[in-house]
Symmetry: C2
Subunit: 257 residues, 2 copies
């Protein structure tokens, strides 16, 4: 009689199936998106989850570790695993006082988003290249403004191929707090940033007005390209940043040893 060893497929021999630890990740993320798991809340222990979902503790562990890397969870030896306070749409990075003016206490601020518009457009050269679309192919354009208190700190322009998200409901998007949470709940889609870059460019009139930015100065722009779990390019997002005496803290650049 063969002993129970590696039952990879769980009766599903497809080559394209998700790994068990990825299913673990998805389950956790769905609980996050649905609100069943809230920031600050503790998860069941690894062994409990293993029993509950009928996989080994090591597999649960690997799945949770991936979510720790993504900044969704954090762990404390001897205590447990809990959900971080994270702003998905902003992209993990809080605002702090600029180091060059750091007499203040290190207050960490999370800006708040307001979605200004969701429109159907045709891809311009930049968007087409980033998302690997043909020129003028249909995309959704989402414009959003980030505020830290009363101060405007960033303008987002996100572009998503309409082919991938055909029935994106504009009103739904507007009502939600988190756009990425919306994607997860409506499309079971988890975005995974694959490339980021940083550059400077001059703003157009509309952008200047929204950011109250002067015409003569270039603005810092932070671009991010994201895929879904199948590797398809889903979003190209440009973020125009308005630093006052504020800095963007990119912490946790690597896993801690």
């Amino acid at each position: 009689m063969p002993q129970k060893t590696y039952n990879s497929a769980k009766s599903k021999p497809l080559p394209n199936r998700l790994a068990l630890y990825q299913i673990v990740m998805q389950r956790i993320m769905q609980q996050l998106a649905s609100g069943q798991l809230k920031p600050g809340q503790y998860l069941p222990s690894e062994w409990d989850l293993a029993r509950q979902w009928q996989v080994s503790q090591g597999t649960i562990r690997k799945g949770l570790n991936e979510l720790v890397l993504r900044g969704l969870l954090q762990r404390q030896q001897g205590i447990g695993t809990l959900v971080t306070h994270k702003n998905w749409d902003w992209g993990d990075y809080p605002l702090v006082p600029s180091p060059s003016q750091s007499k203040l206490s290190p207050m960490v601020n999370w800006p708040v988003v307001e979605i200004l518009s969701v429109t159907a457009e045709s891809a311009d050269a930049e968007t087409a290249q980033q998302l690997q679309l043909r020129l003028a192919e249909s995309v959704w354009k989402i414009v959003a403004l980030w505020r830290n208190g009363y101060q405007v700190v960033a303008l987002d322009e996100a572009f998503l191929p309409m082919a991938i998200l055909p029935e994106l409901n504009i009103h739904f998007v507007h009502r939600r707090g988190s756009f990425y949470g919306f994607l997860l709940q409506q499309y079971q889609m988890v975005l995974n940033g694959v490339q980021q870059c940083l550059w400077m460019q001059y703003l157009n009139k509309d952008q200047q007005k929204l950011l109250k930015h002067s015409e003569s100065e270039a603005c810092v722009c932070w671009g991010r390209l994201s895929t879904n779990e199948n590797g398809a390019l889903v979003e190209w997002r440009r973020r125009f940043l308005c630093f006052g005496h504020i800095a963007l803290q990119l912490e946790g650049m690597h896993a801690e040893v």
Copy 2:
């Protein structure tokens, strides 16, 4: 007779010992620093390393995975594990054409560093706060200029507590290509970035001259705080960036699924 199971200490019951997978990491990094392993070169297979260093394949695996996360190695299923082409001092991030002008081919450029000076100074307010020193405590200040071809792209100012690196040999530093490689070889010290942030500030006269930057415009500044493997703060580095039509590509923000 007890079967061989978990022999954690390897005859070293200290509580502060490094984990085996961290020793694996150090060995690999030392081979990188010494030049025994070169960019593009393949490592022995996981099983070979496991036999060679008398640990299990899973432990080798975990160590290598950490180095993949740090961008030092990359893996290809069915092929092997190889050393990436990486510029330690620059911090992993290549220069690419700015997306807003992306008619060009996606040429990736690695800038070249020139160390301008290594001096002993006393910590100013910003440095003291970042490195958690007392005001005016002794630090090394290293100034370096980054060029992409003939174009100056960044100015680095790094501060390191003299207490941690008492005998830093100035001539040694100057002769080396990589400062972090130098630290690894001379001090067996591996820096681990723990915090990064991004802000804008005006440059002083010296900085303006080196970067050929105008007085009236603010410059993008990228700060990075690093510890050694014991968690001691070792370096506060400010990088003043001069984007032309160039962008800084921050790829591999998260582990790929």
